[in-house]
């Protein structure tokens, strides 16, 4: 509890004891009335003062003013215990709300407790402790076991297990050694390592992630805007109703006191606190639950989008597939050995896959790479060509087999090698869960040829696919899909080359985006690792969050309207009105706390 909360708690306790004592005191008349003022002022002085100040500043319809008016009104009519009780109950509610909000804020920020506090930087041959903000690019940092890596960098010394779970949600530690990139916010587990900083603290992944999550609550969604608008209209309307109730009926039936009391009850109900607090708090909880799983949501509106999503559009490489190319078929083992030996010299992904397919290494001379076509060289006195079909045909070789890469030895066709990507193990089950979460269509967009795309399409169990698309065509295709979709459309990609598509979709999700600023920038939701199963999980979180928000909205408004009607008819008095205000707020906040358990 903060100092302010403790102070308020004591005021409430003292006032309650006094209040009960005075009620039980066997005296009557003016003395008792005056005595009631003591607990009233103890518990309500700040409300009264706030009301006076707000009137001076022109903020009429705030809760302090309403509470002050209602309780002062009750005093004037002679309902002394009610006045004190209403103020007391109001303050109890306020205290509870402040504790609950503080608690959930804390539990969410502790999830994101990934910021390193100090770092050991090498200065003049010695490691000294500095704040992470002081690290410059190029500094050598010592990270001991159990410490967090303060900034993004490259390991220059040592070999250790790195726990990336706080950043990626991935529970298996990653083994990293000299030359490997490490991300800030991860924990070094087994042995000391030295890291050369490649980014400053403010540019490092950990800061980017923290900023993103912290700012998310500042990005309001539709429900929050609705509540803001509602609150602006609701309070003045109820106050006007209160005036009408106070003065119109007495003209016809008399009994001004009764009607004035009912009007005061109206004022007590007129604060929209329950809604104004519980809606953003629920979204904050939902966003917190998502970030615990390595899903960063940039604002509550994107949780709403996920909840209304009916169509999922995905990229192929790196999203549905592992993105790692492998040799999947060949017709001549010798050709693979030869090709592997020469492809070692290239950094093209296809070449790398071929090189990884064989252990045999033949001696190669005069190796040259012709970009976009292939490689040529001399092995054992024979000319070797390895490349695509067009490349071999240009050189007078007739290609007779199937494959991605073809091999020719001494001008003669020697064989074809098929290199392809493979579907992620859990892609199919993820697509099934998406269908179960109410997604009508899962559609793949890819720049790949028909053959490659079709195999993935069947294996992952998708609903539709479009292949051979240029990047610009992907946006056009997405637009037609969005028009046909019965709900919102989510685009899931790896954030490389598909920034325009990510931006165009109702909700763009970049996956495996660790360390890629461009992807984090372009997307609305970021998956810290490349696990496609996070999508159905995020949709479930979004649906639960929105359900809780709706429950709170409906419940709060329903109870308030009901109590207003009952009060006007004379069936409810100020006690029920206080419940409709404070009680409803407490229940709504308690309901909100369920988001923390997701």
């Amino acid at each position: 509890m903060s100092r302010r909360q403790k102070e308020n708690l004591w005021r409430i306790i003292i006032a309650t004891v006094l209040f009960v004592g005075i009620v039980l005191l066997p005296i009557d008349g003016i003395v008792k009335t005056l005595l009631f003022l003591v607990p009233y002022f103890i518990v309500g002085y700040d409300v009264l003062w706030g009301a006076v100040r707000n009137i001076l500043h022109g903020h009429i319809f705030d809760e302090n003013f309403l509470m002050a008016l209602a309780t002062v009104g009750a005093f004037c009519i002679g309902e002394y215990p009610e006045a004190v009780f209403v103020m007391l109950f109001f303050q109890i509610g306020e205290l509870f709300q402040s504790i609950a909000v503080g608690k959930s804020r804390k539990s969410i920020s502790s999830l994101m407790d990934i910021a390193p506090e100090v770092a050991n930087v090498l200065k003049d041959g010695k490691f000294c402790e500095v704040f992470p903000e002081e690290i410059a690019v190029g500094d050598i940092i010592l990270v001991k076991p159990g410490e967090r890596i303060p900034v993004d960098g490259i390991i220059t010394k040592g070999y250790s297990d790195i726990d990336t779970s706080a950043m990626t949600g991935e529970s298996i530690p990653r083994v990293a050694g000299v030359g490997d990139n490490v991300i800030s916010g991860c924990v070094n587990m087994s042995a000391p390592i030295e890291v050369e900083a490649t980014k400053e603290y403010s540019e490092s992944t950990v800061m980017k992630v923290l900023e993103l999550v912290e700012h998310s609550a500042l990005n309001k969604g539709k429900y929050e805007s609705f509540i803001t608008r509602f609150a602006r209209v609701y309070t003045p309307v109820v106050v006007v109703l209160a005036l009408l109730v106070a003065f119109i009926p007495p003209i016809f039936v008399g009994n001004l006191t009764t009607w004035a009391l009912r009007a005061l009850s109206f004022l007590v109900v007129s604060c929209p606190c329950a809604l104004v607090i519980s809606v953003p708090l629920s979204f904050f909880g939902g966003i917190g639950a998502a970030s615990r799983r390595g899903v960063l949501v940039k604002g509550s509106s994107y949780l709403e989008m996920l909840c209304q999503c009916k169509t999922v559009v995905t990229d192929k490489t790196g999203t549905l597939t592992t993105g790692k190319l492998m040799v999947t078929d060949f017709d001549n083992k010798e050709a693979v050995k030869i090709a592997g030996s020469i492809e070692r010299f290239s950094s093209h992904p296809v070449a790398k896959a071929v090189a990884n397919a064989t252990n045999a290494v033949f001696d190669m001379q005069n190796v040259r790479e012709i970009p976009g076509k292939g490689m040529c060289g001399v092995c054992d006195g024979k000319d070797v060509l390895v490349g695509n079909k067009a490349f071999l045909e240009e050189n007078g070789v007739k290609v007779t087999g199937k494959g991605t890469v073809f091999v020719a030895i001494d001008g003669k066709y020697a064989g074809g090698i098929t290199v392809s990507d493979h579907v992620k193990e859990n892609a199919r089950s993820a697509v099934e869960s998406l269908h179960k979460c109410g997604i009508e269509k899962v559609i793949m967009l890819t720049g790949d040829s028909k053959e490659g795309a079709e195999a993935i399409f069947l294996e992952a169990g998708l609903d539709e696919m479009y292949h051979s698309l240029l990047p610009a065509q992907k946006v056009e295709k997405l637009e037609t899909i969005m028009q046909k979709s019965s709900g919102k459309t989510v685009y899931l990609g790896d954030g490389i080359n598909d920034a325009p598509v990510l931006k165009r979709a109702d909700c763009g999700i970049a996956m495996g985006a660790m360390g890629s600023d461009a992807a984090i920038e372009a997307s609305d939701i970021v998956f810290m690792n490349d696990d496609i199963a996070l999508l159905p999980e995020s949709i479930k979180i979004a649906k639960k969050t929105v359900a809780i928000v709706k429950q709170n909205i409906v419940f709060s408004i329903a109870v308030k309207v009901l109590v207003l009607i009952l009060t006007a008819l004379g069936y409810a008095d100020m006690w029920q009105a206080v419940f409709a205000d404070v009680g409803v707020m407490v229940i709504a906040v308690l309901n909100t706390l369920r988001t923390l358990k997701m």
């Binding site: 903060s2 903020h59 705030d62 809760e63 609550a217 500042l218 604060c271």
Partner: protein, 72 residues
Amino acid sequence: MKKVFKLDEVDCAVCAQNMENGIKKIDGVESAVVSYVTQKLLIECDEGEMDRILDEAQKVIKKVDPRCRIVR
């Protein structure tokens, strides 16, 4: 430029709303959000004007809740 500040502390959600509305009206402010849940203030404005705007924002906040201040 967008910048986020911590608030110490916003007492109620309606107060946060009132502060936000007030800060939005300050000359030079492109957008402003006050979040009761995170106790944060986001201001978007021209970088050179930030100091002046923060001073004015502090005044607006003080009017709503005299105990609340912007942590700079």
